[in-house]
């Protein structure tokens, strides 16, 4: 889901820099980040990074990569998840070319922020109904809502940055990006939800001393 470089206009990423910087500053305050907390954030970032490398089978014979954002958000809290995944996205962009540097602020907002907080809030929302449904919905929402943001950001590029009718960045409008990005992610999100459900329950049982409520 990472947007690579070159497809996002400055008219989009400059305001996104302002928004993502504000969110990161807020996260810094909420976590009260100091030297003592560094090892935890480093560890959570590292495990988020590695979880995104894990490939699981997807119906139809293909594979998909785990996101793990909801797992991290439910186990460590949404602000730690947001900070860690922002760091992971930066490392991915700089060292591995996964996601670009110009699209980094958008990737932070969509994946790190919306992903972490939608999973947290959907968990809270569905908890009264059933814990299993809550965890599943946390996983599902961590993929679905970011995909909407990504689809919108890409789809508005021809509107915000064109030379006449010629697109200067991403060439497809909302009528293409919304169905082509969001619809597949509805199904990817289901698999993510199921993996989140089994993983969170398992990890909470296995690491009782760390993740006890």
């Amino acid at each position: 889901m990472h947007i690579p470089d070159g497809f996002i206009s400055p008219q989009t990423y400059i305001p996104a820099i302002a928004i993502s910087a504000s969110l990161l500053a807020l996260a810094y305050k909420k976590i009260d980040l100091d030297v003592e907390k560094i090892p935890l954030i480093a560890g959570v970032s590292a495990i988020s990074f590695v979880m995104m490398l894990i490939a699981i089978p997807f119906p139809g014979g293909t594979t998909m990569h785990l996101s793990g954002i909801a797992i991290i958000s439910l186990l460590f809290g949404p602000w730690i998840a947001f900070s860690s995944i922002s760091l992971v996205l930066l490392i991915q962009a700089l060292l591995f070319g996964e996601g670009g540097i110009t699209s980094y602020p958008i990737n932070i907002i969509a994946m790190a922020y919306v992903g972490s907080f939608s999973s947290y809030w959907f968990y809270k929302l569905f908890l009264t109904r059933s814990k299993n449904i809550a965890i599943f919905m946390a996983g599902w929402s961590s993929i679905f809502f970011p995909s909407i943001i990504i689809a919108i950001v890409l789809g508005i590029q021809p509107l915000v940055a064109s030379d006449g009718a010629t697109p200067l960045y991403f060439p497809f409008g909302l009528s293409v990006t919304l169905p082509s990005v969001v619809i597949p992610h509805i199904f990817i999100a289901i698999v993510e939800g199921l993996v989140t459900l089994s993983s969170v329950k398992f990890l909470k049982t296995h690491f009782r001393s760390v993740f006890s409520e």
């Binding site: 296995h206 690491f207 009782r208 001393s209 760390v210």
Partner: protein, 240 residues
């Protein structure tokens, strides 16, 4: 210099089970002594070293450094002095390296503990540990052996009185291990060196403290005598 009296330590694992790691450990190490800490995996060697570095607190028993009882209160009041005097090199050097370059890594301790002529000292220790050519490199990108040298240079440049080494030759190839053994021999420092490499042990120190699988000390004395008296297969596997 160091005295332990009936130290015991246990912790809760991830599943909340109580795990005993050390039981009634007592010994004394005099100034300038180099002592080997032997034991099989899981016998409590790393935990003991961390206790002696004030990173963990014993469940019972006492630990004295220079006749001072080392507890939370003591460490709070004497943190900087203690940290300068007692240095620990962990088994995985990556855990302890956090500065952007090798130069910065060595300079860190010198700056933190108020040394002067920092640049001169960094170059002196870099030369001693044969790492002058990598001063500008990031510690993250080095080999295991290079990381070990960088870590040792970073710890020794602040001239600690006590050196606690956890499996110091684990990442070293034979030539570097030889270099390390000779280097340690030349140092005027009190040292406790943990290893499970018995054959190398006698080259590093004359005295050995042996932790058994029962987490207690099963031997404390001359290493040569221990190796002669103990059948190889039984040596560290059975409690006494």
């Amino acid at each position: 210099m160091i005295e332990c009296k009936n130290l015991s330590y246990s912790y809760q694992d991830f599943q909340l089970n109580e795990i005993e790691v050390l039981k009634d450990v007592s010994f004394k190490i005099d100034k300038g002594e180099k002592v080997l800490l032997l034991g099989i995996n899981g016998s409590g060697k790393s935990t003991l070293l961390k206790l002696l570095n004030g990173l963990l607190y014993a469940k019972s028993g006492e630990f004295y450094f220079r006749d001072n009882l080392v507890n939370k209160k003591y460490l709070k009041a004497n943190s900087k002095e203690f940290r300068k005097s007692v240095s620990l090199a962990m088994q995985d050097p990556s855990s302890m390296l956090f500065n952007p370059s090798v130069y910065d890594e060595i300079a860190f301790g010198l700056k933190h503990f108020g040394f002067d002529n920092i640049d001169e000292r960094v170059h002196h220790y870099a030369k001693k540990f044969e790492i002058e050519n990598i001063l500008k490199s990031s510690p993250l990108m080095l080999s295991g052996g290079q990381k070990q040298r960088v870590l040792l240079a970073s710890l020794l440049c602040v001239e600690p009185e006590v050196l606690l080494l956890d499996e110091p030759t684990a990442h070293l190839d034979p030539p570097t291990t030889r270099w390390f053994v000779e280097f340690l021999d030349s140092l005027d420092v009190t040292a406790l060196i943990s290893t499970h490499n018995i054959t190398q042990g006698s080259e590093l120190a004359k005295r050995a403290i042996v932790l058994g699988s029962n987490h207690q000390i099963i031997y404390d004395g001359e290493i040569e005598a221990f190796l002669e008296d103990t059948p190889f297969n039984d040596s560290l596997l059975l409690s006494r």
